[in-house]
Amino acid sequence: MKEYTFKEGLKDGIPICLGYLSVSFAFGIFCIQSGLSIIEALLISATNVTSAGQLAGVPIIVGGGTLVEMAVTQLVINLRYALMSVSLSQKFGSDISMLDRLIIAFVNTDEVFAVASGKEHKVSRNYMFGLILLPFLGWTSGTLIGAVAGNIFPAVVIASLGVAIYGMFVAIVVPVAKRDKNVFICVIIAMILSCLFNFLTKVPSGFIIIICAVVASTIMAIVAPKEEVKE
């Protein structure tokens, strides 16, 4: 079995870091516009490391919402991470200790999860630490830059950077969907469900992600169970 190194992790973290720079940059600007200080913006990014949850949390802070509202909002938007963590736990090599899990969980973002899942073999402790390092730095420093100097950059550049994360998702999904027709079908089902829910219902986006992903994966797990998943 191939062991992925720290260096490989770092390398795989570069595109995530680039994508995060742009998204967190926008978040930094958003914080300042909402009336938070630079330090507050930075603290939110450094302790949460998640895009959607942070975007939803800021208005609650500025608007003086209740703590229950904050907790429920974060739970709904971030519940997908629970699914991802279960999946990621199966991907961990035996050298990953409990303490490692506590640290990795902190930066188990959509993108980190996606890249780790996309690896052919189990991932080692060193690889995971390499993988989460740059994205974390990108996420926090991007927020800081956005908060401090957000209005210097032209809007068109910021808008273009907004697709970086999605481009990465595409780069993860498409090669597997090309190779495995069942994954392709799963992607089509997920796409249709997602559009239906987004355009026809008012279900909060956190729930939409969970419902669509669970339904699509369940259908495929029943119709086309994997014969050999283990390595």
Partner: protein
């Protein structure tokens, strides 16, 4: 009384972290159930798809530029390009399209 910033921060970061860490601590054994394994195999691709579609179409100033970015990404990914290449060239595709729409059309 409105809670102060740090209380909000604590609740926000606390909930987010717990959602992430609890399954990672609890599920240590290797899952052997065939249905669960299959479910977990498909799940990442389903999640990423749901997050990309239709979200990407609202991530840019114009929907048209997002469509260009998506198509560029899919073509490059089909040709086996890596994450960084796909992400950057996709952004460039959006940038060029946005500039064209803004200044030419």
């Amino acid at each position: 009384m409105t809670p102060n910033f740090f209380i909000y921060l604590l609740v926000m970061a606390g909930v987010t972290y717990l959602v992430r860490v609890i399954p990672l601590i609890l599920v240590k054994k290797e899952i052997t159930n065939k249905f669960l394994l299959s479910f977990l195999y498909y799940m990442p691709y389903a999640v990423l798809t749901v997050m990309t579609i239709p979200g990407i179409f609202f991530a840019t100033t114009y929907t048209a530029s997002a469509v260009v970015g998506l198509i560029v990404a899919i073509i490059l990914a089909l040709r086996g390009k890596g994450l960084t290449t796909v992400a950057i060239v996709s952004c460039l595709g959006v940038l060029v399209t946005e500039l064209l729409i803004t200044y030419v059309i």
